[in-house]
């Protein structure tokens, strides 16, 4: 207490000195001269705050603006003390709430510390409340995370065991099935000899289809299950698959038009109820590409235009450029204007790309919407292009609103949390029942039964028996593939870094949404972040990592910007009792930022700091009042 009081006396003499520095200046009052803090010089008591800079570090002028490197300490009793740049001293602007920075009499600053301090304290209290709640939730979540992780790990090891058993069974079934098929084949060869001419024609047709892997996959979906199963068993080498086709007992389904097949694939992506075999195939694709719509992506006009871009940069011959301009010549006045203007904005092109994206989705979507028939599509393109120069035209606005209605995205809820839609989570319950040991035993029994009962060397083959074998094989391998899917998704999940205390575990599989103007932003931690506008989706980034010791989530390598980088998103994390997304922004083009509140950031230590801070300010304040 005594020390405190003497410090007050001293600081009244030394304007702008922080309490922790008061001891340093004491030397001036005892010896009359001290060194500048940086040792560059010495200065006397008379040179202290004499409005002339002697020390290049500003030591001699804590209370004036004379030294550029100086700092001025405002006591701000009733509020938080601050050190401000010397450039703020006597500059005509009140910076300290106690007004001490303006002391040359030119302007009068009101002391606003009490009010400001009150506001700050209230804010601090609120923050503490949030933290307290958050800390509780966090504790709970950390516990839960440990349990869930343990559960997940347990499940994983169990699944791996079962997978081994099932694999063996499937292998056995497969061998048996092949034996049967061999027998069938024998029978068939005999028949074939009798109708040789006819068969040859068909054979040729079959060959044509060779190599069209997707064709087969698609076709066999419903009708040729055996074939699919065989593919799986044989492996994914396309040669082998083709071989399998050659051996195919019947080519009856291979006559469909190839175009049809492509559409079918695209269609499947949207398909909700996929059967087991298809799931399996998809999973294989997913290993290379998280997006299920791989096929559609491959032909994404975006990428084609990227290719064109590269092409343009790498080796466009002079004549080609002229060709381009020739085309420009044939443009209408308006188009020409747009084209030239777009050089500065780069927008037209991108809008167009986005347009192309939109169009693609539209076609996928359906044609029940009048907005999206052929003519409108081109009109739409026109308008979007237009909006490259204009923030938003009336028609555009109308359109976006329409879009919202159509999608039902209109709910302007600022933030919304969802689970990933199709991340194998739905499989989980399924899997749990599948992994019931009794089921496994049942299968084992059945297989044993088959192996004993069916005699593959007997001709003619017993059709019902062979059908049974095939069906059983299908079921078993289907289950196996589902199991493998689950194993890989669990492995992937458990491979993530969920923070030192696994405090981010519960965010796995969650998506947060926020609506900002015409866009809906969706952030799925550990997965990806997207920006949706109507039907078109732009990927802002894929999950990269945590940064700044778990204060930031990074999503990188999103869709490429025209004439710019790949999009990326930086999510700052802040303590909050709820998981909420806020403040999405694009400070630099294609570099997004957002704020995410989560209890995971509500650390107990930090709460303690805040509480201490509040206590000390209240203590200071009560001191002031007494």
């Amino acid at each position: 207490m005594l020390v405190f009081r003497s410090a007050v006396v001293l600081s009244e003499n030394i304007l702008g000195v922080a309490p922790e520095d008061e001891a340093y200046y004491k030397g001036l009052f005892t010896s009359g001269t001290i060194k500048c803090k940086d040792g560059s010089k010495t200065f006397t008591k008379a040179q202290l705050n004499d409005d002339f800079c002697d020390c290049s570090d500003g030591t001699d002028e804590p209370g004036t603006s004379a030294c550029p490197a100086g700092k001025f300490y405002c006591r701000n009793t009733g509020h938080n003390p601050v050190s401000i740049f010397s450039s703020r001293v006597n500059d005509g602007i009140c910076d300290c709430c106690d007004g001490s920075d303006e002391n040359d009499g030119k302007i009068k600053c009101k002391n606003t510390c009490w009010e400001a301090g009150k506001v700050a304290r209230d804010r601090l209290r609120k923050k503490i409340t949030t933290f307290r709640d958050g800390v509780k939730i966090r504790k709970h979540e950390v516990e839960q995370a440990k349990l869930s992780a343990a559960k997940d790990e347990e499940e994983l090891s169990r699944l791996k065991n079962e997978e081994n058993i099932l694999k063996g069974l499937v292998q056995q079934l497969k061998e048996r099935k092949e034996q049967i098929e061999k027998a069938e084949e024998k029978e068939r060869v005999q028949k074939e000899k009798e109708e040789k001419q006819k068969k040859e024609a068909e054979e040729a047709k079959l060959k044509e289809q060779k190599g069209e892997e997707k064709v087969n996959v698609e076709e066999q979906k419903g009708e040729e299950k055996v074939n699919v199963v065989e593919q799986e068993a044989v492996g994914s080498k396309s040669d082998d698959e083709a071989g399998a086709h050659d051996h195919s007992p019947s080519g009856q389904d291979l006559n469909k038009a190839p175009a049809d097949v492509e559409v079918g694939v695209a269609h499947n992506d949207e398909d909700g109820d996929k059967d087991a075999s298809l799931d399996n195939i998809e999973e294989e694709h997913a290993e290379e590409n998280e997006e299920p719509s791989k096929v559609a992506q491959e032909y994404n006009p975006d990428e084609s235009s990227n290719a064109a871009h590269e092409y343009d940069h790498s080796h466009v011959p002079e004549s080609k450029e002229e060709d381009g301009s020739e085309d420009a010549n044939s443009l209408s006045r308006e188009e020409l204007g747009r084209e030239i203007g777009s050089r500065w904005t780069g927008k037209k092109n991108e809008e167009q790309n986005e347009d192309a994206g939109t169009a693609r989705h539209n076609y996928d979507d359906d044609d029940d919407d009048d907005n999206y028939d052929d003519d409108d599509t081109s009109d739409n393109a026109h308008d979007e292009e237009y909006s490259g120069y204009d923030t938003e035209t009336e028609e555009d606005r109308q359109k976006y609103e329409d879009d919202d209605h159509m999608n039902g995205v209109g709910d302007d809820d600022s933030s919304d949390s969802h689970k990933y839609e199709s991340d194998g989570e739905s499989d989980m319950s399924d899997m749990e029942s599948t992994s019931n040991p009794s089921w496994l035993e049942k299968i084992q029994q059945t297989v044993r039964k088959f192996l004993e009962a069916v005699n593959p060397f007997q001709t003619p083959v017993d059709t019902s028996e062979s059908e049974n074998v095939r069906k059983e094989y299908d079921d078993a391998s289907g289950k196996l593939s589902k199991m493998q899917t689950r194993i890989s998704s669990l492995t992937k999940k458990l491979g993530h870094d969920f923070g030192p205390e696994m405090e981010f575990y519960s965010l796995y599989g969650q998506c947060l949404e926020i609506k900002e103007n015409k866009y809906v932003y969706k952030v799925c931690p550990f997965k990806e972040a997207t920006q949706m506008e109507g039907h078109s989706t732009t990927r802002l980034g894929q999950w990269d990592k945590f940064d700044e010791s778990y204060k930031v989530m990074l999503f990188t390598n999103g869709d490429k910007c025209w004439n710019g980088p790949h999009r990326s998103l930086t999510v700052r994390l802040r303590c909050g009792s709820k998981v909420e997304l806020a403040d999405i922004d694009e400070p630099s083009r294609c570099e997004y930022s957002a704020l995410l509140t989560t209890p995971a950031l509500c650390q107990e230590g930090r709460l303690k700091e805040l509480e201490d801070k509040l206590e000390s300010t209240i203590y200071d304040t009560s001191l002031l009042q007494s």
Binding site: F52, A66, E262, P317, S325, G341, D367, D374, D390, C561
Partner: protein, 940 residues
């Protein structure tokens, strides 16, 4: 039901672009394919154009008939002789006619008039008596009205053979030679020529004719047709600069300061320097191609004569060849045996209205030119600080954040700028209500810390019936008309747009009124303006501008005044800002297009440059050239507009730009954010230092702006302007002078560890940071660090500084001064300071402080330079807190100050107060004399 279109682009071996479209099932009609194909085509067309400047979109000389014709002419093409020479209205007049053939060519009228201080004006036009089909366009509103009062009334001429000479200036005369026709300026005593016109007989004047059957007057370029209803009307001629080692001027080109020859032996096929205001996407450095503005003023400088200048007041497209020596080897013309540089001037229309400036010193020529077109307006003090711009600061929150970050990092700045996106759909004078709901509050908040805002206002007006500007303009017929007489409709940012016809004074006045606070809703007194796209830029027009046959007020074709369009727009906007404050507040308007006279209305910048080292490099000669041709208040976008500068380039750019008159950071919206604090602590510090250096020198800059305002001598000067006898400086455009005291050498390469600096001879140069003295006269290699670029103070000068840092210029107002004296070999030095209120026109009534500081014999004196009789006064309580002496050896410990008769200490102190930088110079501590008083400080 789904459908997929497979579109792929690939490159064949022969580089043909092949486009494949595969349609899927249910292709309802082929139109889908077609639409996508067109889409794709647009994308492709677009992509081929993004890479950079497209040469073939702009006309070259061969595609420009008048240029092609003029360039193909051989010397002695001109057959005219001057007849009927006489003095009339104080001018020497004559008729120019072709005596050999009795062609249907009419004669031309030539008149020579002489003005004070060595200016000859020559006009050549069609003879009105012969009733030409149309009066040819003479550019009004450029020559100062008061210039006329400087006319010397010629009384007589002297005839010598077929030469008629008149008095021009003390020791100089102007001569008209009758046959063959030639006009020149020469020294009276020696007979040495200074400048000559038509010495090579390349003069050609296409007279207006009535269109006859079979006349094909239309011109086509790409998809555009120019109807050319009046047919060919071009003018071309040769001008020779005697005693010239180099020629300079004729902006705007991204080229070296000393102009390279464009035609002649040994010179590869090259384009002439083009003067045609264009909005050029990603312009190239080292190109004679014309950019955003045009000033047809060329200066020459050489060891033997000194400096002279030639200015052709003409607003049509112009092309200028600098002819390499020997270009005329095959002609038999005999010219005086003097070193010279010949040039060829070509213009599409207008008349000959040419000015000959005799110099002979560099500053004489710029003063002579300024007496014709005016000196630069006195800027507000804030405008000389640092400006922060970006396309775009998106909303009020963004503005707040950027502003507060400057404070957080203790970096001073004065102005925050908003580009086109702040408007409601590119309707100028409006605000995007979602992004900027409270523009007034935003500006007031900035103003509370002394900061201003600038918003953009362009000349293209959105054709939207609900837009008040469009409504009024179309109702009143205020738009430029197309060739058929309808409002011209072109494409720019807002889409379909029309362009205000600023040539009409009534329309300018209407436009100016739009800047009143009631009309420009959301504007406040701290809001200033930026005029962009005023070349004018028309995205779908020929060469991205307005068709030449568009019509302006007075039935003037656009071709006749194209280069002045942006000037009129700038003028009208500037007048608007003057009007809104009742003539009390100096305007600040930045323009991209410019023309002679622009300096009276505001500031210009070098347009859409690129974030490359070469663009940093070329920005220096570009700005120096603008200064030589009258526009001293100019700058280049710091960092480069297009592209992302590497950090080192950005830092170097700040370091150089801090010494150039207009100092603004700007960036394209596709670029990464590049505010000063975004590149790590160390680079933040470097950029802060660069900006702070600018602020410490503001008293010096402001004094130089006043000098430019009074005399026309630019703030940033080529070295040869200050050292006209030092040949080594003549083509140095890597270094420049700020005033007569500071030499700045930029660093223009990546990772430079040293640079070679030429310090002019006969002077000693003091390193700005360390005070180290260097003898001038040779190029020397100097080490550089990333901390700064080499800058030197010349011996014999005194520079006023303010060494305290503040948020912006406003808070510096009462801060004390530091004087830095660098003495010459005789121990003497001189310098000035000019101070006024920094914003109003009161200085015109004498409300200013103007002091000269003279140091000699160990005594510093402050002398009043202000006019004695003034109706208004300006007072300042500012004192001088520190006086630093460089190159003065003395063991003195104290000084005595008169008249207060007090003493103060002399000690060793730092040259700049910066932590970590050790320097030591003789420092007078706290003399505390007032800046506005007479006093003497004597070293004891």
């Amino acid at each position: 039901m789904g459908q997929i279109l497979l579109i792929s682009l690939k490159t064949d071996t022969n580089n043909d672009l092949s486009i494949t479209i595969k349609g899927g099932r249910n292709m309802s009609s082929s139109s889908i394919v077609l639409h996508h194909f067109l889409f794709l085509l647009l994308i492709v067309c677009h992509l081929t154009s993004v890479s950079s400047w497209k040469k073939d979109e702009f006309r070259n000389c061969n595609q420009t008939p008048f240029c092609k014709r003029a360039r193909s002419r051989k010397p002695q093409h001109c057959k005219l002789i001057a007849t009927d020479v006489r003095i009339e209205d104080g001018e020497l007049t004559a008729k120019l006619m072709n005596p050999q053939e009795n062609l249907d060519e009419n004669s031309l009228i030539i008149s020579l008039s002489v003005y004070q201080n060595g200016i000859l004006r020559m006009k050549i036009d069609e003879d009105p008596v012969q009733n030409p089909p149309k009066k040819r366009f003479q550019v009004p509103d450029v020559v100062l009205p008061e210039f006329q009062s400087k006319k010397l009334w010629l009384q007589r001429y002297t005839k010598d053979g077929d030469s008629f000479s008149v008095y021009l200036f003390d020791g100089y005369e102007a001569v008209v030679k009758s046959d063959s026709f030639e006009v020149f300026v020469r020294e009276q005593s020696s007979g040495k020529r200074v400048l000559s016109f038509n010495s090579h007989g390349l003069f050609d004047f296409e007279q207006l004719r009535v269109k006859k059957e079979g006349d094909e007057w239309e011109e086509r370029f790409r998809s555009h047709t120019d109807s050319r209803p009046y047919g060919p009307q071009s003018i071309s001629f040769d001008v020779s600069f005697y005693g010239a080692d180099f020629v300079y001027g004729i902006p705007e080109h991204a080229t070296s300061l000393a102009l390279k020859p464009t035609n002649g032996p040994g010179i590869e096929e090259s384009e002439p320097y083009r003067l045609f205001n264009l909005d050029v996407f990603e312009y190239l450095h080292e190109s004679p191609f014309g950019l955003y503005g045009s000033i047809p003023l060329m200066l020459s400088h050489g060891k033997s004569h000194g400096t002279s200048g030639f200015f052709w007041l003409n607003a049509a497209e112009m092309q200028i060849d600098v002819l390499g020596s020997g270009w005329d080897a095959e002609s038999s013309i005999l010219l005086p045996d003097q070193k010279r540089i010949d040039t060829l001037w070509m213009s599409e229309a207008g008349i000959v209205d040419a000015f000959f400036f005799i110099g002979p010193k560099p500053k004489d020529v710029v003063k002579q030119y300024a007496s014709v077109t005016g000196t630069s307006a006195m800027p507000q003090l804030f405008a000389t600080g640092y400006h922060q711009c970006r396309w775009n600061y998106r909303d009020e929150e963004d503005v707040k954040n950027v502003d507060s970050k400057f404070d957080e990092h203790d970096i001073p700045y004065d102005v925050l700028w908003l580009d086109i996106e702040h408007t409601d759909g590119k309707r100028y004078f409006t605000w995007d209500k979602a992004l900027f709901p409270n523009p007034e509050e935003m500006q007031k908040d900035l103003a509370s810390r002394g900061r201003r805002m600038v918003t953009i206002v362009d000349p293209h007006i959105k054709r939207d019936d609900n837009y008040h500007i469009h409504k009024e303009a179309s109702k009143n017929g205020y738009y430029v008309k197309d060739a058929t007489g309808k409002d011209f409709d072109g494409w720019c940012w807002p889409g379909s747009s029309s362009y205000i016809d600023m040539v009409n004074p009534e329309i300018r006045s209407w436009w100016a009124d739009k800047f009143s606070y009631t009309e420009y809703v959301g504007s406040t007194p701290s809001l200033y303006i930026w005029n962009d796209m005023n070349e004018p830029s028309v995205f779908n027009g020929p060469e991205v501008t307005m068709p030449r046959d568009a019509l302006h007020y007075g039935n003037v074709e656009h071709r006749e005044l194209h280069n002045a369009y942006g000037y009129y727009f700038h003028m009208a906007t500037s007048e608007g800002l003057v009007k809104r404050e009742g003539g009390k507040d100096r305007p600040f308007v930045l323009s991209r297009a410019f023309f002679p006279g622009t300096q009276r209305y505001g500031t210009v910048w070098t347009g859409d440059n690129i974030a490359e080292w070469e663009h940093l490099r070329v920005s220096v000669p570009m700005i120096l050239t603008l200064g030589l041709t009258g526009i001293t208040f100019s700058g280049a976008d710091v960092g480069g507009f297009f592209g992302n500068p590497e950090t080192e380039l950005l830092v170097r750019w700040y370091q150089v730009a801090a010494y150039l008159p207009f100092f603004r950071g700007h960036a394209h919206h596709d670029t990464k954010r590049r505010e000063p604090w975004l590149f790590g602590e160390h680079n933040t510090e470097l950029i802060r230092d660069a900006i702070r250096v600018r602020y410490t020198f503001l008293p010096y800059f402001y004094t130089l702006f006043r000098e430019a305002n009074m005399t026309g001598v630019p703030v940033a000067r080529p070295l040869w302007m200050e050292f006209p006898y030092d040949e080594a400086t003549f083509n140095n455009d890597e270094a420049f002078m700020v005033g007569n005291a500071l030499l700045v050498q930029g660093v223009y390469t990546r990772g430079a560890k040293d640079v070679t600096v030429y310090l002019p001879r006969d002077h000693t140069w003091y390193d700005l940071k360390t005070g180290t003295a260097y003898k001038g006269g040779h190029a020397q290699k100097m080490e550089v660090t990333d901390a700064d670029i080499p800058v030197f103070q010349r011996s014999g000068t005194i520079i006023p500084r303010k060494d305290r840092f503040r948020r912006s210029t406003l808070q510096m107002e009462n801060d004390p001064y530091t004087l830095v004296i660098a003495v010459d070999s005789s121990g003497a030095a001189e310098g000035e300071v000019y101070i006024d209120d920094g914003k109003s026109y009161e200085f015109k009534q004498g409300a200013y402080i103007h002091r000269r500081f003279i140091f000699s014999d160990g005594k510093l004196t402050s002398v009043n330079l202000a006019a004695a009789s003034s109706t208004s006064s300006f007072v300042s309580d500012c004192t001088i807190e520190r006086i630093i002496l460089l190159g003065y050896s003395s063991k003195t410990k104290s000084v005595r100050i008169e008249p207060s008769n007090h003493a103060t200490d002399v000690e060793l102190g730092p040259l700049q107060i910066r932590s970590g930088v050790r320097s030591s110079a003789l420092t007078i501590r706290k003399p505390n004399v007032r800046i506005s008083d007479d006093w003497t400080i004597r070293l004891l």
